[in-house]
């Protein structure tokens, strides 16, 4: 199987040097873009490849780019930002890419920068990813030395400076406009949209923010072509994706698989099924901020629209499993604690609603819950629903709560009825 993302990785996972990367076919995509295509051509290629954003929302990358003003009269400078602030609990896909093959990201960014006419680019890296930072820093130096970045990249007319910025923290920096605020030195609160960053982004200039994994797909698309890339997918969506499995499975881990791979295949063949003595009760298909699904959804293909129709989101493609010996209330409480703590404090349903939800879940988990608390919880989830809050953090936080209340209601009721957690007997 073709693996555009991880195919070149060394077995020992040490980062590929530029020479190693080149010999594995690296920088062919950039070469192809700069030598044989104009920026419009690259954009068309990406559109044709049907690449969708891997940060979680699955927005088509080519369309996102096309909102960026281009051509002669377009404002300058324009910026490209790689969102590498990977902080979603259970998600660690970008980390592998940056630690093990930093040049893949650099090449992807050069290609994107060329298509967008961005003269300055940033990698906004999660602060705790110190190993990725070191590897990227070394790779950046190599890329500059070899003319893959800086002035006249690969001898062509295109120039782009690429800077690595390590975040000072906060999950909200993964929200693209909060990320831009943080990069500007402001508080990491999300911004009003519209205007979208493509119109008024970093320092008020046109800006595109793409997820790290999204950008890492570009070298292969350019090198091998859109049709090849599309054909990698097993269902509607194109290409491959990094899928992770966490929870009490035999072999938790991270795999590159075609889009549209059935969940059961990831769960059973890659992760080896549930560990001895555990039974699957449900799972979050796309990371901590996605709705729970039940085991009967294992047959679904990991495609953006398929998972969406099933009532959850593909998200980051990181499956988090709930087994029959883990208390779902405690699990949701734990997740909610994270989201409440990471609220930026801007809008009310998130800032004040999530800590309240956490407080209720803590009470229920400790056996101090009351029946009416469940209605309050549902109310809080409604309040934090999509469109009601300033950004997507609160709806993401509400997703596991409301789906757990729907799917594992008997557990909540049992906690309240018994006055203690049934999993702690």
């Amino acid at each position: 199987m073709d693996k555009p993302l991880t195919g070149a990785l060394r077995d020992d996972r040490r980062p590929l040097t530029l020479a190693e990367y080149r010999s594995a076919g690296g920088y062919r995509g950039l070469q192809q873009a700069i030598k044989n295509l104009d920026p419009e051509g690259v954009l068309q290629q990406v559109k044709d490849a049907n690449l969708r954003g891997r940060g979680g929302a699955g927005f088509p990358t080519g369309i996102k780019w096309s909102f960026m003003p281009r051509g002669v009269g377009a404002p300058k400078p324009r910026y490209l930002i790689c969102n590498a602030d990977e902080m979603e609990p259970g998600t660690f896909k970008d980390r592998l890419l940056m630690e093990a093959n930093p040049h893949l990201l650099i090449e992807g960014m050069a290609i994107a920068g060329y298509a967008l006419g961005a003269s300055i680019a940033f990698i906004f890296l999660r602060g705790e990813y110190t190993r990725a930072a070191a590897h990227l820093q070394r790779a950046l130096q190599e890329a500059y030395d070899e003319g893959c970045l800086g002035s006249n990249i690969l001898g062509g007319p295109f120039s782009m400076e690429l800077y690595l910025h390590t975040s000072a923290g906060r999950y909200i920096c993964g929200e693209e406009t909060a990320l831009i605020n943080a990069l500007e030195g402001r508080r990491a609160n999300p911004r009003t949209k519209p205007p979208f960053p493509q119109v008024s982004g970093l320092f008020g200039q046109p800006t595109v923010v793409n997820n790290c994994e999204t950008l890492c797909n570009l070298p292969a698309i350019l090198a091998e072509g859109a049709a090849w890339y599309r054909a990698l997918g097993r269902h509607e969506d194109a290409g491959t994706k990094l899928f992770a499995v966490t929870g009490n499975v035999r072999t938790p881990g991270l795999w590159e698989l075609p889009m549209g791979t059935p969940i059961a295949e990831i769960f059973e063949q890659c992760a080896g099924g549930m560990a001895e003595g555990y039974r699957l009760r449900g799972f979050q298909p796309g990371g901590a901020s996605t709705d729970f699904l039940l085991p009967q959804s294992l047959e679904l293909a990991m495609d953006y629209d398929v998972i969406g129709k099933a009532g959850s989101r593909l998200g980051t493609g990181s499956l988090i499993l709930l087994d029959d010996r883990t208390c779902p209330v405690a699990m949701v409480q734990n997740l909610t604690h994270f989201f409440a703590q990471e609220s930026c404090g801007w809008c009310t349903p998130c800032r004040d609603g999530l800590p309240w939800a956490e407080q209720l879940l803590t009470e229920i988990d400790a056996g101090r819950g009351r029946p009416e608390d469940l209605d309050t919880l549902l109310d809080l989830c409604d309040q934090a629903g999509p469109g009601n809050t300033f950004c997507a953090l609160a709806p993401g936080a509400a997703a596991p709560i409301q789906s757990a209340l729907r799917l594992f209601r008997e557990d909540f009721d049992a906690h309240i009825a018994r006055g203690s957690c049934p999993y702690h007997d």
Partner: protein, 921 residues
């Protein structure tokens, strides 16, 4: 005009608004927190949610935030739908999880926007059982209390303080539901607009500290529509009184002037009204001591003394009302009436008045200043002398960002997006001054030089714009190129503005400001927007006094002094401390030569101490009269509470004189105003303020007290259980009572906006009620604002010829630096303002120190032509060379532009002071 439907009712609304603005403008109640009419929308609180339907068929609807959604033709909306109501109540419920519910002990209670919105949203039952987060509060200085536990995190304080007012020491710290609004450490908030946080904060995080020392709820305060007397801008204020004590001052909306904001001097500077040493009743000098007497005896004494001397002079005041000045002028005769100012300040005031007369040049209101796109501040530090104007100048400078956002189709109310798109774009602001000012950080260029050199720069700007304007001589290359840059910016701006004032004490500088405006008018195409020119005056009625005396042959204090040297003469000194106006020895000599010294004033002063007869005048809070602000706008003052038995308006004392000196035309405030109308042709528009058939005073009955005022009838029960009759007010449409026309009825009356004593409307107890009295949220009060612009006669005096800069003069040129705190007579009597005043000191440029053998930290003797004073010295590179920058409290050292010499008295022995170390820039 887009047509929208809300809950089945069709409306037409103005294009370009958001739904919240539209709803409030239509008089609908939609709760909100983070939105503010002057600060725009940021969508943080999610309180103003309403339901929007896709089309007629849609029964579900979708929640949208009113403040973040632009109106569009054909929108179908609902405020009342269950889903919207439920969501809004839920937002309050979430906000309340951490709010302490300490309303009974909270000073915001009774005028709390959070209380109002909670009631409006319908949230009443508490489900949250968890703990509340708590914070440690900070000492934010003498103006503001800090109680962070009440915070609902609407971010308004930050957006006002930092984004709108340019403050830097208030931060949002930490995050999530622990977001903390405060300073990095305890200490006074540095911005001179910090007091607005009291009104900007929707709940009780920032409250009025001087008010808490003698606290009264809003519903127990008696208010009046009043005018600030602490500078010449005439901001509209709503002072509140209880038990005869003025408790606080709040902003009173005026569309053209102060809008929603006051400066801290205006808000906290009222202490002179309650000052313990304030003359409470007439004082008669007997055996060298002043003896208090009853009002009737004081009046008899006045009449008796007027008979003792044949010749009388009257000394007026730029801080007294038009009526009082005029009454004195009528009493003593125009030939014997003096402004109470020296010849030089008089000349400056007349020159500033000439600026208002320039034909073709626009006199902008503060609101119009906010739309200007190239600004030149000439020789006046408005941050200190007219602070509210500095806030408007900031908005003008930020206009470049608004323009940039508009080019991206971002509506102006999208505050955050405008800021992002605008980044640090600024319209050009040029500041020419003798030292640094607090606007320097946002200036395109600054010029620090002596007033003469500054005038030369301005004349050069005029010459660059229009070659007919004579060029100055001897301008250095750097100044010349700056002049060209300024000329270029002004010429190409859509709405250029020039600001000047009297602080630098240089007549040529004022004339040069006019020259720039005149040159600009000549240089710009006829169809271009006329250039704007706005002078600042020194005091609240400087312009009114100047208008009364502009044609007088003799109106200067020096002439009054001279008059006293020729034969016996008595003087009536009106609300004026002459020791602030002329060098001490000269004033002393004058007072000693007078046969009679009658002083009418509301504050203690050395002049008052020298009086034979003191008549206690009303402060602004008890006065009825007229003040004329810097743009030539006459505005009425109304008494907040009924007159103290022993006090009178100054003009009332004079009007009570009988015999051959009896005054006609001062029987009542309306009568006095009518007399003013005829006093000078330019004052004719004042007649609009007179009661007429259309606006009879008595029929409206606007209550000065909120209708819930408690204990009114029992307030004096400790003295006499019988209820006193409420004082009657026959001279205005206001009543000293809570009884009168109800607010909803008043809100529909045209012409009442300017007479509103306070903002209140059912369901809207805070100042935010003001939108109920407007037709549009961003518009003026319904039926007009307070005050009327005078019809000043236009006059073109031709080009001024620049004088060569005097390089031969000996000594340093004394320039008094105005100061917002500690720089004004009345507010210096307010303890919190005085606490914020910097330590008085002399500042000179380092290059000037060696010539006088003085060093930083010395105590120096500063000697002028007629007097000397001692001051600590600060050597400061920001001061222009050749300048001795004196503190505002420094007594006059000479008459007119004064040169001073310095002598060191050794190092300053001061080792500790209550004053903050001087900081600026």
């Amino acid at each position: 005009m887009p047509r929208i439907r809300i809950d089945g009712q069709a409306y037409e609304v103005k294009e370009g608004l958001n739904l919240l603005q539209a709803c409030l403008g239509l008089g609908l109640n939609l709760p909100y927190f983070c939105w503010h009419p002057a600060l725009g929308s940021v969508g943080a609180c999610r309180q103003c949610a309403l339901l929007q339907y896709r089309d007629e068929e849609d029964r579900q609807g979708r929640l949208v935030m009113g403040c973040m959604t632009a109106v569009a033709d054909g929108q179908i909306l609902s405020l009342k739908a269950d889903k919207a109501r439920h969501f809004r109540a839920g937002v309050i419920e979430a906000l309340m999880t951490n709010h302490p519910h300490d309303c009974p002990v909270c000073e915001e209670g009774g005028e709390c926007h959070l209380q109002d919105m909670t009631v409006m949203s319908g949230h009443h039952h508490r489900r949250y059982r968890g703990r509340k987060r708590t914070f440690v509060n900070q000492d934010l200085g003498p103006f503001i209390n800090h109680e962070m536990n009440r915070c609902i995190t609407c971010y308004r304080c930050l957006r006002f303080y930092r984004d709108y007012a340019g403050g830097e020491d208030l931060h949002a710290l930490a995050s999530r539901n622990h977001t903390y609004f405060g300073r990095a450490s305890d200490g006074p908030l540095e911005s001179e607009f910090a007091g607005n946080l009291v009104e900007v904060c929707p709940t009780g995080v920032f409250t009025d500290k001087p008010l808490s020392q003698s606290y009264t709820r809003k519903w127990d305060l008696q208010h009046a529509p009043s005018i600030c007397v602490h500078c010449s801008l005439g901001c509209n204020i709503s002072p509140g009184e209880r038990y005869g004590r003025l408790k606080r001052v709040q902003n009173r909306y005026h569309h053209g002037i102060n809008g929603y904001f006051l400066c801290d001097r205006g808000r906290f500077g009222f202490g002179h009204v309650n000052h313990p040493e304030r003359p409470q009743q007439p004082l008669v000098r007997e055996n060298g001591r002043l003896r208090p007497v009853a009002a009737s005896e004081g009046l008899a004494e006045l009449a008796r003394r007027l008979e003792t001397t044949e010749r009388w002079i009257g000394i007026g005041s730029p801080r007294a009302t038009l009526e009082s000045n005029l009454a004195l002028r009528e009493l003593v005769g125009a030939d014997h009436f003096f402004t109470g100012l020296g010849s030089h300040p008089n000349a400056l005031n007349r020159a500033l008045l000439e600026l208002l007369r320039l034909p073709g040049v626009n006199t902008p209101s503060l609101r119009e200043i906010e739309a200007c796109d190239a600004l030149l501040l000439l020789g006046e530090d408005i941050t200190q002398s007219a602070p509210r104007m500095a806030l408007s100048v900031r908005q003008a400078v930020r206009g470049a960002g608004r323009d940039r956002a508009a080019a991206l189709n971002i509506p102006p109310w999208q505050a955050q997006s405008v800021q992002i798109a605008g980044q640090n774009a600024r319209h050009p602001l040029f500041i020419s001054h003798v030292t640094a000012t607090r606007l320097d950080p946002i200036a395109e260029a600054t010029y620090r030089a002596s007033p003469q050199e500054q005038a030369a720069l301005a004349f050069a700007v005029a010459h660059c714009l229009c070659p007919e304007a004579p060029a100055p001589e001897g301008l250095d290359e750097q100044a010349q190129s700056l002049a060209e840059k300024i000329a270029e910016a002004l010429l190409h701006a859509k709405r250029p503005l020039i600001v000047t004032g009297p602080s630098s004490g240089a007549l040529p500088l004022v004339e040069a400001a006019g020259q720039v405006a005149r040159a600009l008018l000549n240089a710009r195409p006829a169809e271009a927007c006329p250039p704007a020119l706005i002078p600042v005056f020194a005091e609240c009625n400087s312009l009114g006094l100047t208008l009364l005396t502009q044609d007088a042959a003799e109106a200067d204090l020096e002439q009054a002094f001279a008059l006293s040297e020729h034969g016996p003469v008595g003087a009536i000194i009106l609300e004026n401390d002459l020791f602030r106006r002329a060098p001490g020895p000269l004033v002393q000599g004058f007072l000693e030569r007078l046969t009679q010294r009658i002083v009418i004033d509301s504050i203690p002063s050395p002049t008052l101490n020298a009086a034979d007869l003191v008549l206690p005048a009303t402060s602004f809070a008890e006065s009825q009269g007229t003040l004329i602000n810097n743009e030539g706008r006459a505005q009425p003052l109304f008494p907040v509470h009924a007159l103290h038995a022993e006090r009178r308006n100054s003009w009332q004392w004079l009007a009570a004189v009988a015999g051959h000196r009896a005054l006609k035309g001062f029987a009542s405030p309306a009568d006095a105003l009518a007399t003013c109308v005829t006093a000078a042709p330019e004052l004719a528009p004042l007649s609009q303020a007179l009661p007429s058939a259309a606006h009879p005073f008595t029929r409206l009955a606007v209550p000065r007290m909120p209708h819930r005022n408690s204990g009114r009838t029992a307030a004096g029960a400790n003295l006499d259980v019988r209820e006193d009759q409420q004082p009657q007010d026959h001279d205005s449409c206001l009543t000293f009572s809570m009884e009168g026309a109800p607010a909803p009825w008043l809100s529909r009356q045209s012409g009442i906006g300017a007479r509103l004593p306070f903002s209140w409307y059912p369901g809207w107890n805070s100042n935010q009620a003001v939108h109920k009295f407007k037709d549009a949220v961003d518009g003026p009060l319904r039926g007009g604002e307070s005050g009327m612009r005078l019809d000043l006669v236009c006059r073109d005096n031709g080009w001024h010829r620049p004088l060569p800069v005097d390089t031969e003069a000996q000594g340093l040129l004394a320039v008094v630096q105005p100061a917002i705190f500690g720089g004004e007579e009345l507010s210096n009597l307010a303890a919190p303002v005085f606490q914020r005043a910097a330590l008085p000191c002399l500042r000179i440029h380092p290059d000037d120190a060696p010539a006088w053998s003085v060093a930083d930290g010395d105590r120096v003797l500063v000697r002028g032509a007629s007097a000397a004073t001692e001051l600590p010295l600060r050597v400061d590179p920001r001061v222009a060379r050749g300048i001795a920058l004196l503190p505002p409290t420094c007594p006059p050292l000479g008459t007119g532009p004064t040169r001073v010499s310095l002598r060191s008295l050794g190092s300053d022995p001061l080792i500790a002071t209550d004053h903050p170390e001087p900081t600026d820039g």
